[in-house]
Symmetry: C2
Amino acid sequence: MKWVGVFTLLFASLCCAQESGDFKPADTNVSGADFPRVDSASRAQFRVKAPDAAAVKLNFWSGPKLDMAKQPDGFWTVTTTPLAPGLHYYTLIIDGAEVSDPSSHAFYGGGRDASGIEIPEPGSTYYLAQDVPHGQVREVWYHSGVTGDWRHALVYTPPGYDVQTNVRYPVLYLQHGGGEDETGWTRQGHANFILDNLIASGSSKPMIVVMANGYARRARRPVPDLAGKPFGSPEAMKAMQEMAAAFEDDMTQVLIPYIDSNFRTIPDRDHRAMAGLSMGGMQTFQVTFDHLDLFSYIGGFSGAAGPLAFGNEKLDAKTAFNGALADPAAFAKRVHLLWIGVGTEEPAMMHAGLVRLHTSLVEANVQHVFYESPGTAHEWQTWRRDLKDFAPRLFHEGSAKP
Amino acid sequence: MKWVGVFTLLFASLCCAQESGDFKPADTNVSGADFPRVDSASRAQFRVKAPDAAAVKLNFWSGPKLDMAKQPDGFWTVTTTPLAPGLHYYTLIIDGAEVSDPSSHAFYGGGRDASGIEIPEPGSTYYLAQDVPHGQVREVWYHSGVTGDWRHALVYTPPGYDVQTNVRYPVLYLQHGGGEDETGWTRQGHANFILDNLIASGSSKPMIVVMANGYARRARRPVPDLAGKPFGSPEAMKAMQEMAAAFEDDMTQVLIPYIDSNFRTIPDRDHRAMAGLSMGGMQTFQVTFDHLDLFSYIGGFSGAAGPLAFGNEKLDAKTAFNGALADPAAFAKRVHLLWIGVGTEEPAMMHAGLVRLHTSLVEANVQHVFYESPGTAHEWQTWRRDLKDFAPRLFHEGSAKP
């Protein structure tokens, strides 16, 4: 790094160029970056320097690509129409190269450190840092005999955890989506602030939240050669099932015991929940229904039960989920909460699939909660709202605290 | 995010293309990325897809720009000569746009989420995750009356911290460099693994390490208008001094009391150290010498005492550092460790400045440690080595534990 450059950078946090009109730098920008910026109508302006490029596009992952226009100063710019609130992943396409915006912080999604822009939701503060007691988010490393390596997880401990050292807490296991990792729920989702605020208002019980890495491969298992094997091929499906099974074993045989040994948990099924978004929702349904001895609260955020939600399969309440739903009264007693959510603007197949799952559960008299997030897509604002609805419903039933 | 795309990404962690020869994907890559890759001679190969670009360069921040060559498949590639070990920041320049490499994880440096490539150091495991007990790295938020906002810090707690709840620990405050932030010491520096390994081998005492954000602006202070005011101008110098003073007040008046209230510290000067790299080293010298009532161990890693180290100013031991060195015997009693380090390959002015500071301290009979990291530049391998030498020297002197 050039020495003068280092000093120049110091000014970034001290000096901001003038904004014209109503536009303000997005909260997701790196320090001192004036673009992207957002106005009170939720329109966003993007700008990138690419003096020698022939074509630059803005690529919203949940929307169309927009052509950016070259300015005489070598910068390319574009202004969007009003955007839905929340965090939108995006990339820039510069002469065919799909890259991140140098002005945005990076958020791990789509298997890369992508860009994201935060569009404020007027009146919504539940996912922002407020003047309330804050919990901690802790990075932990645990060695897994299932995968044969050190695995990384994040653990939210509620405010006061270090002070009230005789108190034990229930635990929510909360999983990211495909292409994301264990950092997603705090960096993109602000799960820590959502819990801080819910706990401060008395809406949620204080709880520990564990965010694990959702990818796993068994130790000493050779890397499958999937070259030329498309998605949906028998070889690819087998590889996915092996990954899912390895994750399930790691979570139930290694991670849960690790958490129960290293944190002051209430280590029983009445005080253990699992939820996840998209791929994490499918993992949740697999792990919890295979282990109802371990979990009594279940949440699927835009993802639940694979083919039931996303394929054309119809729920057979007698056989589905290892037969757990066959006796709805017994199920309602055993599982304190079955929660399913989806955004109204998600891809039609996904929205229809989750609505169909909900309808089937109603028809089968299976007690559950169904939540639709209005106006949001397969994106983080849906999942923030999901968590806001889901968390207050946790840990009211079952055995008393030991 | 496209639904099929999500599934395709799942394979990234399952499936790796064949490598030719000796090259292996870098540890700093996102999951499943085959490039960049490194061979046993420490050469690195880079590859980026930019089918419509006219010119693509690889931009090492501590070295020259390299032209990449276009391949018939639309990818651009380049192979370097052998590189020094450690983490090197870099960007790609695609038709004049300086962007991050989509295949690399992002590391906050240079005021942006930049790319980094890790070149292994043969035989060095001290900064890697080993089969030893691991501490936790905790994100904390504290409200600062100095800056008027919520500030973010990372806190390393040593292995066993949650178990041995009657033990109190000394604290090292460890600062990042200019253009970086509080994530640098763990993500780029692996400070947590360095401490885990030093503590496991008995080389270092168990300690808490606090990594704060080094930028601060006082509450209700207007943003200085530095437009047209170059680095070194009176206005710019004043703005920098104000930032440094706000950081000093935040650290000494808010952060230290917060840490002492919320962690089991030994809250006295004999059990409090501060060190930092580059800008963080200058901050360390300012904060500690202004507050020798708070600190007794001082480390400057490639940065110390601004003009003394980097300008042409000569140390006047009678007046320097508020006169603290004027009586070397008294100083040696009061400050248990004064530690200065620099890499032999750092920019000539920087290396010469720190050598001159060392020589001046020798001439003035001021007890200190001077360390030169062989073959490394103003980069993280220098600072990892610094921490490895510095941490074992901490907390052996002064008052006994309470």
